[in-house]
């Protein structure tokens, strides 16, 4: 029996906006979630970080909503709100007490249709400063904070749109202009490049009417331009790429990455299960070997990035205990990757059981559930796919893992990044 049976109705407005409605009256709250099909992969040269900076500007008001008013209204309604920018998409979301659904739809539609009249140089200057401080706080003033900057550059060639990070470079953030804001808005913030999900306590008929009222008159935009650079990619890196970084870090840490099939490919499920067998829980391979038995690592982490363009990225890292060298960590990780050709039924069952619990916990809140529905709508044109996702993971066999390991986890498809404490190299 399927563990999830989340109801969802799907519509499309004349302007191309896809709308998913998922009713759940358990708690009097409702989530509104929008995925725009734009992310760091759409940024042109010299404007890395722009999609994220733009996301900040979306909170700076729109024609009918003054600066700070967006936050004030949602908070006063007793709601929570935020947004995030990722390689392939930008999402905006709020959860509000259910009687404030219309407020959320009004705010989201106003910035989808009428953002530009509210843009000023002063607001842009302010948010550029905020974003630069975000970069300092998360990347520059944080041990290992810039690992993904190195990793993406090693895994993806400089022609590929995943070569640079979402946060972007300081110089590029500084270079952004109001004209860029206008171009980006006109190109990407159009109803036919967005999906909208409403999830929680509402009446579907009246909600659909409100969606039509607030979003229906926003005109369809032009088809999106092709991605910058060259999004095609060999399925493998072709060799081992390595880099050693001497930095202000307390302990040696080794990151490893591989190109794997994109999230939208059937082959990605094996990547997810492989990541779980390797690193989820204390019975996982890396925890057992590197942390518990050999006592060389303080912690281990594995995951498969859900990326859609050409390839996705399989990631793992291990933080060494004091005096452990990067070579020791790398050798140990390599052995575990090679051993992954032989996985027992029990290990796969454990990995799937853990993932299943996590998956159900991941949809308990209407906000998280709405985000998942938007994702499945955006990537698969099928929000209801959320209900059968666990079954797809369950279908992965030890034999699939063997094939996956042989195809993607060898030394011919690997990036190795080592951080070593300053002065210890």
């Amino acid at each position: 029996m399927a563990v999830l049976s989340i109801p969802v109705e799907r519509y499309e407005l004349d302007n191309g906006l896809r709308v998913s409605l998922s009713v759940d009256k358990t708690t009097p709250v409702v989530a509104v979630n929008l995925w725009y099909g734009v992310g760091s992969r759409n940024e042109r040269e010299g404007r890395t970080g722009f999609a994220h900076l733009f996301e900040h500007m979306m909170f700076q008001g729109s024609e009918h909503v003054a600066k700070n008013r967006h936050f004030e209204l949602v908070e006063r309604a007793g709601g929570s709100l935020n947004a995030s920018t990722w390689f392939d998409r930008t999402n905006y979301f709020e959860t509000v007490p259910s009687h404030h659904l219309e407020l959320a739809l009004w705010l989201e539609s106003d910035r989808m249709g009428w953002m530009l009249p509210a843009m000023t140089q002063e607001k842009l200057d302010n948010q550029r400063d905020v974003v630069m401080n975000e970069r300092r706080q998360r990347y520059d003033n944080q041990p290992y904070g810039d690992w993904d900057e190195y990793m993406q550059a090693m895994v993806f060639p400089d022609t590929h749109p995943y070569h640079h990070t979402v946060i972007g470079s300081m110089d590029d953030i500084a270079a952004a202009t109001l004209e860029d804001i206008g171009d980006f808005f006109e190109t990407f913030y159009i109803p036919n490049n967005a999906v909208l999900t409403v999830c929680g306590d509402f009446d579907p008929e009246s909600a659909l009417g409100l969606v039509e009222r607030y979003f229906g008159e926003i005109p369809r935009g032009e088809d999106l331009p092709p991605l910058p650079g060259d999004p095609t990619l060999e399925p493998s890196i072709g060799r081992t790429v390595r880099e050693v970084v001497e930095a202000e870090v307390p302990l040696t840490r080794v990151y490893m990455a591989a190109r794997v099939p994109p999230y939208t490919d059937e082959g990605f499920y094996a990547a997810e299960v492989a990541a779980s067998v390797l690193g989820t829980g204390r019975a996982s391979r890396l925890y057992r070997s590197l942390v518990r038995d050999r006592r060389i690592a303080k912690d281990v982490v594995t995951f498969a990035f859900p990326l859609t363009t050409g390839s996705s990225m399989f990631m793992l890292w291990a933080t060494g205990l004091p005096s452990v060298t990067p070579d020791e960590l790398e050798t140990a990780l390599d052995e575990e990757l090679q051993d992954l050709v032989t996985v027992s039924e029990e290990e796969v069952a454990r990995a799937v059981a853990l993932t299943e619990t996590q998956f159900v916990r991941g949809v308990e809140q209407v906000g998280d559930r709405a985000d998942m529905l938007s994702m499945f709508d955006r990537y698969f044109d099928d929000p209801a796919r959320l209900n059968s996702e666990v079954d797809r993971l369950r279908a992965v066999s030890p034999g699939d893992l063997k094939l996956f390991t042989e195809a993607f986890l060898g030394t011919d498809n690997r990036a190795v990044l080592a951080y070593v404490p300053k002065g210890a190299a």
Binding site: L101, M132, E217, P250, R292, R295, P322, T357
Partner: protein, 455 residues
């Protein structure tokens, strides 16, 4: 620009409000004293069981600082019936993770799993808590991981700031002045024997509570719990709150020198107030206005007006005993003193002039409205019910929570703030490049400025 077909300039009028009731909690006490609370929440086939032990770090002697945390960590080391690996396999085989968190007031052991596995999960939880063996090899490994984590904290500007602020705010001997997980010198000598004697004293059914939330049938649960925890015995006597003393009476600036830092991590705070203060609800409103929401005075000034920071928050560390009140932010090095000046301005202005009627309304509406949003998951509900056990709060606490918030007045808000926020007594801790920030900070004339080397 595109014209709208109707007037979009007014915010929509809210629809009819739908009633929210905190889910019903079924309470019982087992013969051995264990306080059992069950909440049925059947939206998803999932359950969270949370065991709350009166085994917080506050009760640990300073010579063994970190013992409660380390003992909690080391529970994974195995039981009388299972090795560490067998235990992990058993738990993860049913899709259950075992989480142990230890704070100042409690150690919490949590499992979440599909509802159909609850019986197995509870039995394993009981085995972990009642029959841990702390084999030397496992205990030493977990201790080494904690020691490495301490090294990591010492190089992360944010945790360095937090740890230093705790130390500068509290007098010697106050547990809150040390990191909750202890120090190298106190953790290093600890052994499995220390963990065993800690458990003997503090892991007892009397004084502990078990909260189970999810898609479950209440009647069967009590039998299940009796089977798993019935043989457990002992009691922890509740301790009375004690006064928490500050290190300094007057405001000071403490710079922790980090040469070349691109940002300064700033903490401004002083000894705060207990969770059971009669001012609790007024302070929730007050803090929302000062720095507890996006539209707070601090955030609108420091982020949305000046762009000094990615975000700034203020926070009351409500604990059984008076936890600290504080403001935290990371700012670009060049604007460090400006940011401190503006933050101090906002704190003083709110204390002196009080909160406006509209601000109090808005803050109250926000925290009243957001209450059900934080009660959607089985683990959120379990944590909320668990608070009643940790802080000895009355059974109707959640049922009346929003009414008590709604009853907070403008006058009560301002007066509670005046009692519990004291800008003249703040320790201002700045982790950053002293060569760049010392002179501008001294020019603010906030009090003595001292520079400390990073340990």
């Amino acid at each position: 620009m595109m014209a709208a077909s109707f007037d979009r300039s007014e915010a929509p009028v809210p629809g009819p409000i739908r009633r929210f009731d905190f889910p019903r909690v079924t309470e019982s006490r087992m013969a051995n004293g264990l306080d059992l609370r069950i909440v049925r929440a059947a939206r998803f086939p999932i359950v969270t069981a949370m065991l709350i032990l009166d085994a917080g770090e506050w009760a640990v002697d300073s010579t063994q600082a970190g013992l409660a945390v380390l003992a909690g960590d080391a529970l994974e080391g195995g039981t009388a019936r299972r090795s560490a690996t067998e235990l992990a396999e058993a738990l993860e085989g049913i899709g259950a993770g075992l989480g142990v968190t230890t704070g100042w007031d409690a150690t919490t052991v949590t499992v979440s799993c599909l509802a159909e596995r609850l019986g197995e999960a509870l039995a394993l939880m009981a085995e972990v808590v009642l029959e841990p063996t702390f084999p030397a090899e496992e205990f030493d490994r977990v201790r080494d991981q904690r020691l490495a984590a301490i090294q990591q904290r010492a190089m992360n500007p944010s945790t360095v700031a937090g740890d230093h602020a705790a130390r500068f705010i509290h007098a010697d001997g106050v547990p809150f002045g040390r990191p909750v997980a202890g120090m190298e010198e106190t953790i290093g000598p600890l052994s499995g024997d220390d963990a065993r004697s800690w458990l003997g004293e503090r892991y007892c059914p009397g004084g502990s509570g078990l909260v189970i939330v999810g898609d479950i049938d209440g009647g069967e649960i009590e039998t299940l719990v009796e089977g798993c925890f019935g043989a457990w015995s002992g009691t922890v006597e509740p301790s009375d709150p004690v006064a928490v003393t500050p290190r300094h009476e007057r405001r000071r600036v403490e710079i922790v020198h980090r040469p070349g830092a691109v940002q300064s991590e700033i903490r401004m705070g002083h000894v705060g107030v207990s969770k059971v203060t009669p001012d609790y609800f007024s302070l929730l409103v007050y803090n929302t206005i000062l720095g507890g929401s996006f539209t707070s005075r601090l955030n609108l000034n420091l982020r949305e007006k000046h762009g000094f920071t990615y975000g700034v928050r203020s926070h009351f560390g409500f604990r059984r005993n008076a936890g600290p009140f504080g403001i935290s932010m990371a700012v670009e090095t060049a604007v460090t003193a400006d940011a401190v000046r503006e933050a101090m301005f906002e704190v003083k202005t709110l204390v002196n002039d009080g909160a406006s009627a509209d601000e109090v309304d808005a803050a109250r509406d926000y925290i009243v409205g957001i209450f059900p949003l934080r009660l959607e998951t089985t683990s959120q509900l379990a944590s909320r019910v668990g608070e009643l056990i940790i802080y000895g709060l009355p059974d109707d606490y959640h049922a009346t929570y929003r009414d008590r918030l709604r009853a907070v007045t403008q006058k009560e808000t301002t007066e509670a703030g005046r009692r519990h926020v004291r800008p003249e007594e703040m320790s201002i801790v700045v982790v950053g490049d002293a060569d760049e920030i010392r002179a501008p900070l001294e020019a603010l004339e906030l009090g003595p400025v001292e520079v400390h080397e990073l340990a």
